[in-house]
């Protein structure tokens, strides 16, 4: 038998071999594994937090895989960096959905990223889990596929205002970075302190300005007891330098994401005295203790781990919901999310191992997390998180008030 080997047949067989070698594992994976995407802000504004969320996602997946997976299937986790940038995030989400075939995208942090990828996720029926605060998130989630592990920003505003009132401040002025996260926070703040205690109309500034002098002059002109400035760290650092330089001696209040270690290094001793607030993990809870142990962290008084803990809770609850639903059909998994997290009279579990064991034993469970007790309202927004107010003293955060849910 003679057979002519032409260039065309060589190319054809080469291409077929290449395709088989590269695609077969993907196809097998798609058939066997449960694909989950992790899209975290590993660089950019959320850079200090993203890697911690990623690490938590990985730890839970590795643990579950080592114990035989969920529904007898292994979890295949694909990690992407959102760069805290909606454009990069949309490209990454596209890849996660269309190439990796994920059932959920977990870990988005900035509201603009969460909202930016939402249309694609909704269209593809992909579950989203985030720590974003924009009040628009539940509004735009038409299919009930979004679960938010962060308090919405009006809640931040209300909590910070309650704690500020307890400190005895009577008059306030407010200015905020012009974005959705801070806008609704201002509304929440004014709601609690009362519009009569706010001396001038709250106003907004844009980020990336060449000067914040006139805004600061406006803010402090009526010399209020306290000023509240919801912001991000880059603009707040420039704004705070100007507040200090213009001689304001009242109380500066902001959000803790603006006053991290880099802020303190940049402004030095002038940072002392600033009060800042943030939703924090329930530090006395069993799940938080376990998280600190798993992540090999030291428990610290001031700085906690609001986002790393949320990462652990996101992956744990998603996989528990898959086990509970008995399928990877995302609509059913989303429904099962409430079954495994919310409601009374169920067995409380603090980690995925105990949760999976209880579900397999036919028990009803309520997962209590490291970031919060993880109870969702009907829109998939976390119901309550502890809230903490800290003051910078001697260059470090000292907890001064705590609201517990």
């Amino acid at each position: 038998m003679s057979r002519n080997i032409t260039r065309r047949t060589v190319l054809k067989s080469g291409a077929a071999t290449f395709a088989a070698a590269t695609m077969a594992p993907a196809i097998l994976r798609a058939a066997d594994d449960i694909n989950v995407g992790s899209l975290t802000p590993n660089t950019g504004g959320g850079g200090p937090f993203g890697p911690k969320i990623t690490a938590s996602h990985k730890r839970v997946v590795e643990l579950v895989n080592s114990q035989g997976g969920v529904l007898g299937r292994q979890i295949n986790l694909t990690q992407e960096n959102s760069e805290t940038n909606p454009e990069s995030a949309v490209r990454a989400a596209d890849k996660l959905i269309n190439v990796n075939g994920v059932i959920g995208i977990l870990g988005t942090w900035s509201s603009s990223v969460t909202l930016g990828i939402m249309p694609k996720c909704q269209e593809a029926g992909v579950i989203q889990m985030c720590t974003s605060s924009s009040a628009d998130i539940p509004v735009r989630d038409e299919k009930g596929l979004v679960f938010n592990f962060q308090a919405l920003s009006p809640v931040w505003g209300r909590a910070i205002a309650s704690l500020a009132l307890r400190r005895g401040f009577n008059t306030f002025n407010l200015m905020a970075l012009n974005n959705d996260f801070t806008r609704s926070m201002m509304d929440g703040f004014v709601e609690i302190v009362g519009a009569d205690k706010v001396m001038i109309d709250p106003f907004y500034y844009n980020g990336n300005q060449s000067s914040y002098r006139s805004e600061v002059s406006q803010l402090i002109e009526s010399n209020p007891d306290a000023v509240f400035i919801p912001s991000y760290v880059t603009d707040f650092t420039a704004v705070y330098k100007e507040i200090f330089r213009q001689g304001y001696e009242g109380q500066v209040i902001t959000v803790s994401i603006s006053t991290g270690s880099k802020f303190k290094e940049a402004v030095g001793e002038a940072a002392n005295g600033i009060i800042h607030g943030l939703p924090v993990p329930p530090i006395s809870s069993e799940a938080y203790r376990q998280y600190v142990e798993e992540a090999e962290l030291e428990q610290m008084d001031g700085v906690q781990h609001p986002f790393g803990t949320a990462g652990r809770d996101q992956m744990s609850t998603l996989l528990l919901a898959v086990e509970k639903a008995g399928t990877t059909d995302t609509a059913q998994v989303a429904k099962a999310m409430w079954d495994v997290t919310t409601g009374e009279g169920k067995k409380t579990v603090y980690n995925i191992t105990d949760g999976l064991a209880a579900i397999r034993a036919g028990e009803e469970i309520n997962y209590s997390g490291a970031s919060s007790s993880v109870e969702f309202d009907a829109e998939g927004m976390v119901l309550g998180r502890d809230f903490q107010l800290a003051e910078i003293k001697g260059g470090a955060d000292v907890v001064i008030e705590r609201l517990e849910y």
Partner: protein
């Protein structure tokens, strides 16, 4: 309040005047608007940060070193990027300069990340008189801007290199024919302007916050000041800086501050309608 806004405007003007002068000088000699100024200023700020915080030099010495280093970087950018493209039109060079600023910004981002940073000096409380608040640091910024303006004036008016710069800006071919070493003049202009961008990086780092977008945030006001004054005219740039600085601060009296950033553009648009060559610029004669 109004007097305070006036002082705020003067400090703003002092911050954008030196780079507006440099931008204008560069335009005069090179004949294209160099948008890489944002990257140059950021490089200046990070150079000063490296000398001051990482190497522990005093701020003044760090500022001088940063001016020298930025001058070198800016000169090098001409040798590597712009010199090989001399024959191209201003629009091509403008686009290349935008690319260059992005490259510089990203190099800095790779080395230093996007974290906020500050110099190793304590923040100052202001001195108060007649209801006005101003810090010594801000007075230094104003004094330095005036010194730069005077020094540039003296350089252009009374020194040989300054006269050669003016001659080259006016007509490079004629200057060359008359025996001026235009290559040397161009090299000096890049170095001198680079030092001014370095100085601006230091001052902006003191005033705002050191981060990779620092220079980019100043680019529009600087550009506005230079165009307003008459692009190519250093004296016009000084005047333009005062007007842009004032306008941005006084805007808050009549407009919400979130519209402040747009004021620079508005001023450019309105003034250019009335005076297409700017306040002190000369209409270009096209043959």
């Amino acid at each position: 309040m109004n007097m305070q806004l006036f002082v705020n405007g003067i400090v703003n003007a002092a911050l954008i005047a030196p780079p507006a002068i440099a931008f204008s000088l560069l335009f005069g000699v090179m004949r294209f608007p160099n948008f890489a100024i944002g990257g140059y200023i950021t490089a200046g700020a990070f150079a000063a940060y490296a000398f001051n915080v990482q190497l522990g030099l005093p701020l003044l010495a760090s500022a001088v070193a940063a001016m020298a280093l930025t001058g070198f970087i800016v000169w090098l950018s001409d040798i590597i990027v712009f010199k090989p493209m001399r024959g191209h039109g201003p629009v091509t060079l403008l686009v290349v300069s935008i690319a260059l600023t992005l490259i510089l910004e990203h190099i800095i981002r790779i080395i230093y990340s996007a974290e906020v940073r500050g110099f190793d000096i304590p923040l100052q409380r202001p001195v108060k008189f007649a209801g006005i608040r101003i810090t010594y640091e801000q007075m230094d910024i104003i004094a330095l801007a005036l010194a730069v303006a005077v020094a540039t004036h003296l350089l252009l008016r009374f020194t040989n290199i300054g006269k050669a710069m003016r001659a080259t800006a006016d007509n490079p071919v004629l200057a060359e024919v008359r025996g001026i070493n235009t290559g040397l003049v161009i090299g000096f202009t890049w170095l001198f302007c680079g030092a001014l961008f370095g100085l601006t990086g230091v001052l902006a780092g003191l005033d705002l916050v050191i981060e990779p977008l620092l220079g980019w945030n100043l680019t529009i006001p600087i550009f506005a000041a230079a165009i307003l004054g008459g692009i190519g005219s250093p004296y016009g740039a000084m005047l333009g800086a005062v007007m842009v600085g004032m306008a941005e601060e006084l805007t808050v009296l009549v407009l919400p501050s979130s519209y402040k950033v747009g004021v620079g553009f508005m001023i450019i648009a309105v003034l250019l309608l009335a005076r297409p060559h700017g306040l002190l610029g000369q209409p270009e004669i096209r043959k």
